[in-house]
């Protein structure tokens, strides 16, 4: 046995077994190593990093669904609805349920006014922008006929549903459009401004009028639901949590809807503006600017064509003439003149001037509107007959500075702070203004023009109404407001805090003189007799503003083309004792103030009078259910 033991069969087998065993160990080592590594990996993911993944899983699982807050309604002072929400129905297709699109589009085309191809194109365009679980809206704000058509074919229209939504509805349409305003979707600029804490793209905000004035209260606060969604985003359940939306408040405005309607009715086709205030509190009872627009036009979203039509209209329907247009006051300025003169002690009630029909001042002849002249006139006669010569003389004695001071004291030349939209300040001239703007000194002859409200003096209708309220009260200025002022004490005893007044009172003798004269304008042989309401002592003053020189010498206004006719004013308050309402009516190209403007004022005041006098008490309007209108119909 000299053979090397290494060559023995046993030994070879032994080493083979050894090698095999090593290799098996190596293989099982690989498995053990990897499985051990996996356990470490699980430890890392599930124990060390678990919070991170838990958050990610939670984000996967929960989606927050916005619950928009229904916008509040706007009511008039007695609870009548001016603006409310209405139900808007839309036709939607749920992509997870819809099956036969060709059939669906072909049926829907019969009621939606589109060809099936158009619907298909719309569907494809819209579906690209949304998650799969979000239904595609094919038609918005459809009428009830369409809803009925779709409902009746529910079995054929797989996956088609009807969405219910709140939309703004303006009961009056074009009535008081400038007052009511309109809503619009928030712009990117609004969202970026940071003024709206929880605003989202697509939120609706008030853009003008009452809608804007009360916006923060009307809007309410959005809520949200927390829903469990699956991987394609479909809701599969709801979790506890979420915040219900806080509906916007129903706002009671100062408006009297009956007066408002009457005002718009009486204006008919005239252009112009008018505002009626509660003379004691400054509450706006009615306000209109003509021509207007239908606020409902803005509800269906921004429509370029509608917008362009409105902007391009030569009548400027979007301009709120109550606050944004300043006009010459014409003869309505004579009350300011009277107040200034009485206050300065230049005249008293029995001071007379002789009116021969015209007068010469500073080498220029100034005519009275009455060519024959008024003869000897007192202040009272001068206001009733609207004698120009009387006030030329008063103006000459006063001088522009004292006229301007009284005008400013009565609120002219600065905004009243009504708060809807921008407001013009108007213009009260003086020497400093002339030098600043026209680089020339003030000529005394200009004062003569200003004395009858012509020349460089401009007022807005709202300023006129506030001025009349001052004359109706104690001479201090009330702040006009659109919010109904409610007091437990009743109208007779409103706490001063509710009705802040500005400025200093005028002497009662001054106010009495002016008021009595204004009563005479309506009730004696004055210029405003067409405003007379038996039993309601309306005090007023007409004003006629020359538009072109052509009107001088023309007896009958109707001979002139409409755009050449004079502007007409009728301002005042009622009744004489303890005045309640102050007003200013302005009719563009309306001719003589007493002919057009006074009847409009009369109509509205008649409505007020009827409501407040003939009925024992102001009807306390029932609170109308105007809340989330859709709530009842959601089960639809």
């Amino acid at each position: 046995m000299t053979q090397d033991f290494r060559h023995t069969k046993d030994y070879q087998e032994y080493t083979e077994e050894q090698t095999l065993s090593t290799r098996i160990t190596l293989l099982s080592g690989i498995f053990a190593f990897v499985l051990g590594g996996y356990i470490l990996c699980l430890w890392y993911l599930q124990v060390i990093e678990t919070d991170r993944y838990r958050t990610m899983a939670e984000d996967n699982r929960v989606r927050y669904v916005d619950l928009p807050a229904p916008r509040g309604a706007i009511l008039d002072r007695n609870g009548q609805v001016i603006v409310r929400n209405r139900l808007a129905f839309s036709i939607m297709v749920d992509r997870e349920k819809a099956t036969d699109y060709r059939k669906t589009f072909s049926i829907l085309s019969k009621c939606l006014g589109h060809t099936p191809e158009e619907l298909a194109a719309l569907y494809h365009r819209e579906s690209g922008r949304r998650f799969r679980y979000e239904p595609v809206v094919l038609a918005e704000d459809v009428d009830l006929g369409t809803v009925a058509f779709v409902e009746a074919r529910r079995s054929e229209l797989q996956g088609v549903s009807i969405g219910v939504d709140d939309k703004r509805f303006y009961e009056g349409g074009a009535t008081g459009a400038h007052l009511v305003g309109y809503v619009g979707e928030m712009s990117t600029a609004d969202l970026a401004s940071g003024r709206f804490a929880d605003a989202r793209q697509g939120d609706v905000i008030g853009r003008a009028g009452l809608e804007k004035y009360f916006d923060s209260e009307l809007r309410g606060r959005r809520g949200y639901r927390e829903v469990v969604v699956n991987s394609v985003g479909r809701e599969v359940g709801e979790v506890a949590g979420g915040v219900p939306p806080v509906p916007g408040a129903n706002i009671r405005s100062s408006i009297d809807l009956d007066m408002q309607r009457q005002l718009d009715r009486s204006f008919a086709t005239h252009a112009g503006a008018a505002v009626f205030l509660d003379a004691r509190t400054g509450e706006v009872l009615a306000l209109t600017s003509r021509p207007g627009f239908d606020s409902n036009l803005f509800v269906k979203g921004f429509n370029r064509t509608v917008w362009r039509t409105l902007v391009g209209d030569p009548g400027h329907p979007l301009q709120n003439r109550v606050t944004q247009s300043a006009y010459s006051p014409g003869s309505t300025f004579k009350m300011v003149m009277a107040a200034a003169a009485l206050d300065a002690g230049i005249i008293n009630e029995s001071t007379t001037f002789f009116c021969p029909g015209q007068a010469e001042f500073y080498g220029r002849v100034f005519a009275c509107h009455e060519k024959a002249g008024h003869g000897n006139v007192t202040l009272r006669d001068a206001l009733i007959k609207s004698c120009d010569v009387y006030f030329y003389n008063v103006g000459k004695k006063l001088g522009i500075e004292r006229i301007g001071a009284m005008a400013r004291r009565l609120g002219l030349g600065s905004p009243t702070g009504l708060g809807i939209g921008t407001e013009e300040a108007g213009l009260v001239p003086d020497d400093a203004w002339k030098r600043r703007v026209q680089h020339d000194r003030w000529y005394p002859s200009e004062t003569i023009s200003v004395s009858i409200g012509q020349g460089p003096i401009l007022v807005t209708p709202i300023q006129q109404a506030v001025l009349e309220a001052a004359l109706a009260g104690d001479g201090r200025l009330i702040s006009p407001t659109l919010r109904r002022i409610e007091s437990a004490h009743g109208m007779s005893d409103l706490p001063a805090s509710l009705v802040p007044k500005r400025g200093d009172p005028l002497e009662p003798r001054i106010l009495t003189a002016i008021r009595r004269a204004m009563w005479g304008v309506v009730h004696e042989a004055g210029t405003g007799t067409r405003a007379r309401i038996p039993g309601f002592d309306i005090c007023g003053k007409t004003g006629t503003v020359q538009v072109v020189a052509a009107s001088v010498g023309v007896k009958n206004e109707l001979e002139l083309a409409p755009e050449q006719r004079d502007h007409a004013w009728f301002v005042g308050f009622a009744p004489l004792d303890n005045p309640e309402v102050a007003f200013a009516v302005f009719v563009e190209h309306g001719g003589h103030g007493g002919d057009v403007a006074a009847p409009i004022a009369k109509d509205v005041l008649q409505t007020y009078y009827d409501k407040s006098r003939k009925v024992p008490a102001l009807p306390q309007g029932k609170e109308v259910a105007v809340g989330p209108a859709s709530a009842a119909a959601r089960a639809f």
Partner: protein, 362 residues
């Protein structure tokens, strides 16, 4: 010959126990994963369990040499099935992987894995000496290559993956020289570009999104991410059976088949997932122990091939779930829903039990 050596080994109760535990856990998780989709899959899986039990008993009862002698016909049979599936298969997700016999659906590729393992074991055990000849190597490549080629024609790249570790393990244990091992590894690395050019666009996409999941967070990478979220959010003890939001709300793709382990990790947490991995460890350890105890090379190779097949599938499947590998489409043995995989895996483990029962030394 069979009767010469009466069973002297011990029955491997640990392996049987681990297997039973894993199948049971799989059933529980399947039930939880399909809570809201009816009990149809659960019921089917119960039938599969019954079938697997029958197969297990039959496989264990008859000595493994009997099966090894039948290896060639069985292997050829599975190749025939793979051919039939190409012609008459039911297409699922772009692959002709399924054969339908009435209500019974069957994935021939699953069977082919184990018939190939059995034939390969017999072939490796039959040769003499511990030096791998080229001829032997070619034979082994043929045995593995034929089913792989047929499966690639379906095409089902994922199912071919376990064949490669199988071949590698057998070649390695048949005495491949270390020099060659190193050379093959190097060649493999060099072959990656070639392999890459063969891949289909969607397969490349899978690999790319695996490397950078941010590429396509809502597409393929999304699956990887969602699976990771499921695992991570499970925490130490999990969200409770039926309480996994990822699983129950459809965020997990194929959650009752390839991604069942994500459900385990999410709903019973680290405790459950690590336990399952330990059970798989016991299973594989049992296979290796049986290999060492086997009375002949055939027994050794049978156990090692079964361990390699099961082990590589476990590693690939859980690697995908942990986000360590691109999505491969490989079921988790014993736990994933699917009768073909369950029956063949249990059958294979039956062979291992068979070897252990009939070894010479305990």
């Amino acid at each position: 010959m069979v009767l010469q050596a009466p069973p002297r080994g011990r029955f491997d109760w640990a392996l049987l126990g681990a297997m039973t535990a894993l199948v049971t856990l799989g059933l529980v998780m399947l039930h939880s994963a399909t809570l809201y989709e009816g009990h149809e899959p659960f019921r089917k899986q119960l039938y599969s369990c019954a079938a697997a039990l029958v197969v297990l008993i039959v496989v264990v009862a008859i000595p493994y040499h009997f099966w090894a002698n039948l290896a060639l016909p069985i292997w050829l049979g599975s190749l025939v099935l793979l051919c039939i599936v190409l012609v008459a298969g039911t297409e699922v997700r772009g692959s002709n992987s399924w054969l339908s016999f009435g209500p019974v659906r069957f994935q021939p590729a699953e069977a082919a894995k184990f018939t190939t393992a059995l034939l390969l074991s017999g072939f490796a055990a039959s040769r003499q000496g511990f030096v791998l000849t080229f001829r032997t190597l070619a034979g082994m490549c043929l045995i593995v290559g034929a089913p792989v080629a047929l499966i690639l024609l379906q095409p089902d790249l994922g199912s071919t993956l376990p064949f490669f570790p199988l071949l590698a393990a057998v070649v390695f244990l048949s005495g491949l020289r270390w020099k060659v091992v190193v050379a093959v590894i190097l060649l493999g690395i060099l072959a990656i570009p070639v392999f890459w050019s063969v891949l289909k666009p969607y397969q490349r996409e899978r690999v790319m999104t695996f490397i950078n999941p941010g590429l396509d967070p809502k597409g393929i990478g999304w699956q990887v991410l969602q699976s990771r979220i499921a695992v991570g959010s499970g925490g130490l003890l999990g969200k409770g059976l039926g309480g996994g939001s990822q699983a129950q709300l459809n965020f997990l793709p194929d959650r009752h088949t390839d991604f069942i382990f994500s459900v385990v990790a999410e709903e019973i947490g680290f405790a459950g997932a690590a336990s399952a991995l330990l059970l798989y460890g016991i299973l594989l350890y049992g296979c290796v122990a049986s290999a060492r105890a086997a009375r002949d090379r055939l027994g050794l190779f049978v156990c090692i091939t079964v361990a390699t097949l099961l082990g590589s599938q476990i590693i690939i499947n859980i690697g995908v779930i942990l986000g360590l590998m691109p999505t491969a489409g490989i079921p988790l043995p014993l736990m994933s829903y699917g009768g073909s995989s369950l029956v063949t895996s249990v059958g294979a483990l039956g062979l291992v039990l068979n070897v252990r029962m009939r070894c010479l030394v305990n």
